[in-house]
Amino acid sequence: MLTNKCILRTEKIVKSFPGTKALNGVSIQLNEGEIHAIVGENGAGKSTLMNIISGVFSADSGKILVNEKEVHFRNTHDAQMAGVGIVHQELALCTHVTVADNIYIGRLPEKAGIVDRKRLYEMAEEALRPFMTDIKPDQIVSDLSVAQQQIIEIAKVLSLNCKVVIFDEPTSSLNEKEAQILFGIIQSMAKQGVGIFYISHKLSEIFFLCHKVTVLRDGSYITSNEINNLDADHVVSQMVGRDVGKMYPDKSELHSKEELMKVEGVTRTPHFSDVSFSLKSGEILGLCGLVGSGRTELARAICGIDKKTAGTIYIKGTKLKKSTYAAALSRGLCYLSEDRKLDGLFLNMDVSDNMIAPQVDAITKRKLLDRKRIAKLVQKYKEELNIIFSSPNQEIKHLSGGNQQKIMIAKLLAISPKVIILDEPTRGIDVGAKSEIHRKLRELCKQGIGIVVISSEMSEIVGLCDHIVVMNIGRVVSELRGEEITQDNVIGEISRVNENRRVSK
């Protein structure tokens, strides 16, 4: 039941993190029974704002008002007590205990100081009913699939009977059927007067589900509109906030026949199967598809980081014989990880140690590290990529995301690669560093280095690439080139396939 009664609003929320201003005076309003989408590029401040509303972070300044009363949340528990719950994108479950224990964690029913298991399982059964799943309350969470775990995460928050529920990318690990059930649940919650904030990269979901859309960009509030007054293009241009074409370097005019890399029938069950494409000299190739379409898995398998079940890779016409990453590196094929902190950087080590990692055996003189060459190398890339750090001995964890990302790229350039696969090369970094990286990639491409970019950001794929391979549930569904590359076409290719799937079912 959508009313005009405001149940939660924020006033001029400001939040800074070391090095970045994440939110710059954001005021938004959520009404009773409203499903309200928050959209924006990575780094726009969506998650930060939601984390502040739900008590994960506290704001530097600004107010949160629930039912027009100002509140101060010290933690998520405070927020839950005030009726505000959040379903996080990342799973945060205790995997070694049962489903029921997770749903009612911190508020288990007790009888004389002992957990009342029977009552607990009944309650959990009840909490899981709307999801129409076959998950049993006494199952151990680690035995469940990621999608099932996501459902538990959602059930946990819903069982709090919150007045405001925030969903941060809730469908990223659900399949379509599970997502449909979730949409049903969200809609019935809204009918009961619950206010919902919904964050998603998938515009199709937003147009299907939401009443209102608020756009954030670079930490600032841009606009809020009724969904009926909007179309997808409009939302995207508000999110990006500029003419996408100008943001990116000019596209390639070269039409070289020289094949830098050929991928033939590469399969890794169950992630993707029979993927083939060819990367020509002078073009930037974009691999796109929704999260879970198998892009990252594909990149890792091409480089030999994960084992592939079948298929062949050719670098400049010669077959890669061994499927190990060391073999790929020695042939000049390298991979830039999507996750700087998890497997990209050595966070407690310094700039120069990070930069020389892939060639630590080569940059030596009689088995000892050659400090002069290392210093020269660091200086060279500092200038070439405009990386800002105070000394080569500065610990890398103190640098901004953009500089960290540039160091990761420098580390790969230092081995004189032939083909680089970059997974989310600009995730979570500011606009300036982003366009510097884009320009650098174009320059490398002109120098004859093969560039493959994986990105969740549609505008990046469209703005940067000369050749796009669209993937869906582990298969290549189409390839676009030159003039065909437009936002509409790419979205179309992804959604068209979804429709086909629906029909075929």
Binding site: I305, Y325, S337, D343, D353, A357, D361, K367, L368, L369
Partner: protein
């Protein structure tokens, strides 16, 4: 002048050096005998073997693992050296065979941890028990002496050159070489990468499995060498030679700045850690404190050291 002071302070082993100097001054005021040449000599000889084991342990800690089997391996190599020598094999050759067998044990440990991904704590605990068990079986629980005609070998652990005990010289040379190796070589750099972020090391093309196998071979070989030295020093190997050494050297390395979470540590720090623990034990003896107090006090020092380290670390991160 300020600059020099800054450099001195940024010297990684600064804190522990200061503590040692302070201890030396305080103890020598109380008991002047502490600085007598015979006391210094005894203390130095006593810590040499532990110091050599600590070099290996520090490298294992840097790799993000650790090795609880070093004490048993030290015992195994001491016992094997003596047993082989008693079988009529040349004592030097016996020592080499004992070291080779120990390296083999370390290689197996490394394969289990590196290649099959077993937990370092459990694996090395198991190897510790197995090795110690083997020592008991071989010696039948008793002590075995080196046979006659092994005086040149005994000289290794008992003799001196220019008045300095050979065993201490060997330790100092190994410590300097180890410190240089860890600070400058590309092989040691790979150990830092593995300990700092194993996944990122894999994505830098580093064969992390191979690195780990080598690390445990190294800890075993240094422990085995220390075992040989102890056999030579005492002329006898007992079934409990080397027991408890693992805890002493882990404490020393951590006091010297190594981290149990990997990616951090210096040989000089670990060596200074061993020196500090030995000085304290020595002082307890000189003060006529019952030997029963030693373990209690060493444990407290370890806890204090890591607490201080934890706080200074948090402070550094906040800046």
């Amino acid at each position: 002048m300020k600059n020099i002071w800054g450099k001195v302070k940024s010297f990684k082993e600064f804190t522990i050096s200061i503590i040692i100097i302070f201890l030396v001054i305080a103890i020598s005021i109380k008991t002047p005998v502490f600085l007598s040449s015979s006391n210094i000599r005894t203390t130095a000889i006593g810590l040499a073997c532990n110091g050599i084991v600590a070099i290996g342990m520090t490298i294992a800690l840097i790799s993000g693992g650790f090795d609880l089997s070093v004490g048993s391996i030290m015992g195994l190599s001491a016992v094997l050296t003596v047993v082989f020598a008693n079988m009529g094999i040349n004592v030097w050759l016996s020592a080499l065979i004992a070291i080779a067998i120990s390296i083999l044990v370390g290689g197996i440990t490394g394969e289990l941890i590196g290649r099959y991904g077993l937990n370092a704590f459990i694996t090395t605990l198991g190897v510790q028990q197995i090795t110690r068990g083997a020592v008991y079986v071989i010696t039948d629980g008793s002590s075995i002496s080196l046979p006659g005609g092994t005086e040149s070998f005994k000289n290794l652990g008992q003799g001196s050159i220019f008045g300095i005990p050979i065993i201490v010289l060997i330790f100092v040379i190994l410590a300097i070489a180890g410190d240089f190796f860890v600070k400058r070589s590309s092989a040691a750099m790979k150990v830092f990468y593995v300990g700092s972020n194993e996944k990122a090391a894999i994505l830098s093309g580093i064969d992390t499995k191979k690195v780990k196998v080598k690390v445990y071979m190294l800890t075993a070989s240094l422990a085995a060498f220390a075992g040989v030295l102890s056999a030579s020093r005492f002329g006898v190997a007992t079934s409990n030679s080397g027991s408890g050494v693992e805890m002493v050297v882990i404490s020393a390395a951590v006091i010297g700045g190594a981290s149990l979470s990997g990616g951090k540590g210096t040989i000089m720090g670990a060596v200074l850690g061993v020196v500090m623990l030995s000085i304290i034990n020595n002082a307890l003896v000189l003060f006529n404190v019952s030997v029963n107090w030693q373990s209690l006090i060493s444990g407290m020092i370890l806890i204090i050291a890591i607490t201080i380290d934890n706080f200074t670390h948090k402070k550094a991160q906040a800046v």
